[in-house]
């Protein structure tokens, strides 16, 4: 729950590295009357009203406490900093393979978390670093996984595209586009049996929105009233293909046809929170709903993609100036005098420091043990003999 996570703790820097991002690292109070008052509830309007498809949209007035706004700022800033650090690590070849960065889209991960608990499940595609942090993952686990180290969240065996966190209901982390959506509907199916009032958020991109399996899963979910929320993170480009070139209808929130949908400004964390809260309640009562998050990624599709061959630099700069999620929250904080500009800058400095420390820490972590290569192909004990090279003495029996 959002409020309970905000309770200030006297955590030291090192603890933060191992604890969920959302615990504030600082314990000093902020200037400004609003901040010190836990009871204050601000009512803020979202940037644009919601648009509904076969459903009455929720109100665009969102309630938020000053603490919540600060935590949004901080959480998004950590995510942003992590992705930028990952960019430099990739360029210095410490991260290899494929790396898909989320900077620009932080509001979706943070807003969603504010509306749900860790008993709800989230499943997403390969742009998963920040979703992982939002689910309570820590920086060391994240960087270690990117580097393939033993201390990574998937023991170094998954890499950038395969972050998981079972205890937080984070089902990863999927490389094959669209494959996670039927899976997500399956999770919701199980949740319905558990009768524990939990839901699944299945995230996918505008590229994946044209996958056949999505519609198969949607049909089944609607038929059986599953508590699943399909979230299309529409960053307008499926790798190098603009949405209008890939989809006859880019109104992804309407593509569910008989399934209701909501279009949300994905760069406005409060709008995301409101929409997810609304969707959650809807899914528990009425079955699937689609949320289209209108968002944007500053980086290219992956680190191998400069991101500028299919869109203009002006477009990217324009979005950064007008719709950046972190800047929006910064303005709200300053307008409502929750904190001063320099205090916010200090937070960002501390975050930078923490991220650097996490990087230093993971660099000490060892690579996975070679025996891990054969581990978990099947369940241990169910007998698989691994042959490295027939006729040589490299064969290995898994007992």
């Amino acid at each position: 729950m959002a409020v309970s996570r905000l309770a200030p703790s006297a955590s030291t820097l090192s603890k933060l590295l191992l604890h969920p991002v959302s615990a504030p690292p600082f314990s000093r109070p902020f200037s400004g009357t609003a901040a010190g008052d836990d009871q204050t509830v601000l009512t803020i309007e979202t940037s644009v009203p919601f648009t509904g498809h076969k459903i009455d949209p929720p109100s665009r007035s969102v309630e938020a406490t000053p603490k919540e706004l600060l935590s949004f700022f901080q959480d998004m800033a950590v995510m942003r900093r992590m992705e930028i650090a990952a960019d430099s690590l990739y360029k210095s070849k410490l991260i290899r393979g494929f790396c898909h960065l989320y900077d620009g889209q932080e509001a979706v991960a943070v807003g969603m978390e504010a509306a749900i608990t860790q008993r709800d499940s989230i499943i997403t595609a390969y742009r998963d670093h920040c979703t992982f942090l939002g689910r309570g993952g820590n920086l060391v686990e994240a960087f270690s996984e990117l580097m393939g180290r033993r201390t990574g969240c998937s023991k170094g065996k998954g890499g950038s595209m395969h972050f998981y966190k079972k205890e937080a209901g984070f089902y990863g982390g999927h490389g094959i586009v669209g494959a996670q959506v039927p899976l997500g509907c399956g999770l919701a199916f199980a949740q319905k049996y558990f009768k524990d009032e939990t839901v699944t958020f299945a995230l996918y991109g505008d590229g994946a929105a044209n996958q056949g399996q999505l519609f198969e899963a949607l049909n089944i979910s609607a038929l059986w009233d599953l508590p699943v929320i399909l979230v299309c993170e529409n960053n307008h480009y499926g790798m190098g293909t603009a949405e209008w070139r890939a989809a006859k209808s880019a109104a992804y929130y309407k593509r569910g046809d008989y399934v209701p949908g909501l279009k949300v400004d994905g760069m406005d964390v409060l709008a995301v929170k409101q929409a997810c809260k609304f969707a959650r309640e809807h899914a528990l009562k009425n079955g699937p709903i689609i949320l289209e998050m209108d968002t944007y990624r500053y980086h290219g599709h992956s680190m191998s993609d400069p991101g500028s061959t299919y869109r203009t630099r002006d477009e990217i700069t324009g979005i950064r100036q007008e719709r950046d999620p972190i800047e929006r929250v910064r303005k709200l904080i300053l307008t409502h005098e929750i904190a001063s500009a320099s205090e916010l800058k200090d937070i960002e400095k501390e975050i930078r420091k923490k991220v650097d420390e996490a990087i230093a820490q993971f660099k000490e972590s060892p690579m996975p043990d070679p025996s891990e290569l054969f581990a978990d192909v099947y369940v241990k004990g169910y007998g698989v003999e691994m042959q490295a090279c027939p006729g040589l003495k490299l064969s290995k029996s898994i007992k």
Partner: protein
């Protein structure tokens, strides 16, 4: 029956394009280019020489993720070279339909790891269309191109070698080139072959492999393996990027006085059993190597067929069991890639073990 000339390249009439041996003998008359450029040239020629040829797939318009389709959209227009939405099953089905109307549909699946949604279309529709319609219909103009194989850091979903799945489907052809010059000729042959073909391109070699490639239009024969190095002690068979590993192993083995014969299979189905058999009957030993996991990999088929044919015949027999040096039976790993791969040293060890059996 065709000649069983020892060590000579054999051409067996029923399946070859005539130009094969001629290309190899002509003086080199091309430029040094890499694999993606060779493929690009082949595509340019394919579109130039057949006005009903089309190239499509995800992101091919701007040149594709590996630059194989550079310049095609500008030159031939967006009616013939175009992007598709992100839906492999749709791309394959669409391509089959286009081919069924007599067109040459050259579809790209961006990474072979993503080909599985299209598997049903390829296996159940493309491969069987001619057969089940009693030859009324066919999708022979279909060519599916896809980058496959390890690239050093690709992990689970950018490194797979799925060729074995497709080799199990009568009605399809599966072709894998080892180098730029081979790729251009083989791809043009695939595009013009009147059967549906899956053409896997070793992505590791896109930039790495540079070779002199003739600029003109030429084709290389399908279903004809090539003996690229002659030897007398052991036959090595492979395809794609693995051949350079095998070559280096051969060089090392030569230092120990082991003479290796190296064969590039080129077409995996229908495969050239005669060439491999002739070689094994000469050397008495066989080693097959591929990146795909060993169990159920295409090496198993080669192994079984050759064992059938060469077990004991005309006084010559297999001197040792067939060795397979392949990927491990695990999902393609991330950091463990160097352990997983069938490396030169693993191959060398197996060569020695087989020769000393």
């Amino acid at each position: 029956m065709a000649l069983r000339g020892l060590g000579r390249r054999i051409s067996i009439g029923k399946r070859c394009f005539s130009s094969a041996s001629e290309v190899e003998k002509r003086p080199r008359d091309g430029k040094q280019i890499n694999l993606f450029s060779a493929i690009n040239q082949a595509l340019h020629i394919a579109l130039e020489t057949d006005s009903r040829a089309y190239v499509f797939g995800e992101d091919v318009g701007f040149g594709g993720v590996f630059r194989c389709t550079t310049g095609l959209a500008d030159r031939f227009g967006r009616n013939r070279v175009f992007n598709t939405p992100l839906c492999e099953q749709g791309i394959a089905g669409f391509a089959i339909g286009l081919a069924a109307m007599g067109n040459r549909a050259i579809a790209e699946i961006q990474f072979a790891d993503y080909i599985y949604p299209a598997f049903d279309q390829i296996v159940n529709e493309a491969a069987k269309f001619r057969y089940r319609s009693g030859n009324q219909f066919n999708c022979g103009g279909l060519t599916i191109r896809s980058p496959y194989g390890a690239v050093g850091h690709g992990g689970h979903y950018h490194s797979q070698s799925p060729e074995a799945f497709f080799c199990h489907v009568p009605g399809l052809k599966v072709v894998i080139p080892r180098s730029p010059q081979q790729a251009k000729g083989l791809l043009l042959a695939c595009i013009r072959d009147p059967n549906p073909v899956v053409f896997f391109e070793p992505k590791w070699l896109y930039r790495l492999a540079v070779e002199e490639v003739p600029e003109r239009d030429y084709m290389l024969p399908l279903s004809q393996a090539e003996v690229i190095r002659q030897g007398s002690d052991i036959t090595l068979v492979g395809w794609g990027a693995q051949l350079s590993v095998l070559e280096r192993a051969c060089d090392e083995a030569a230092k120990d006085g082991i003479s290796c014969e190296l064969i590039d299979l080129r077409t995996l189905i229908p495969w050239d059993k005669e060439t491999v058999e002739a070689s094994v009957r000469k050397t008495g030993r066989l080693l097959v190597s591929h990146e795909a996991p060993v169990t159920g990999g295409f090496g198993a088929e080669i192994s079984a067929s050759i064992a059938e044919r060469c077990f004991l015949r005309h006084g010559l027999q297999l001197e040792a069991p067939v060795a397979r040096i392949c990927g491990l039976d695990t999902p393609f790993p991330l950091v463990y890639e160097p352990f997983y791969m069938p490396t030169k040293n693993k191959v060398l060890d197996a060569i020695k073990a087989t020769v000393n059996y």
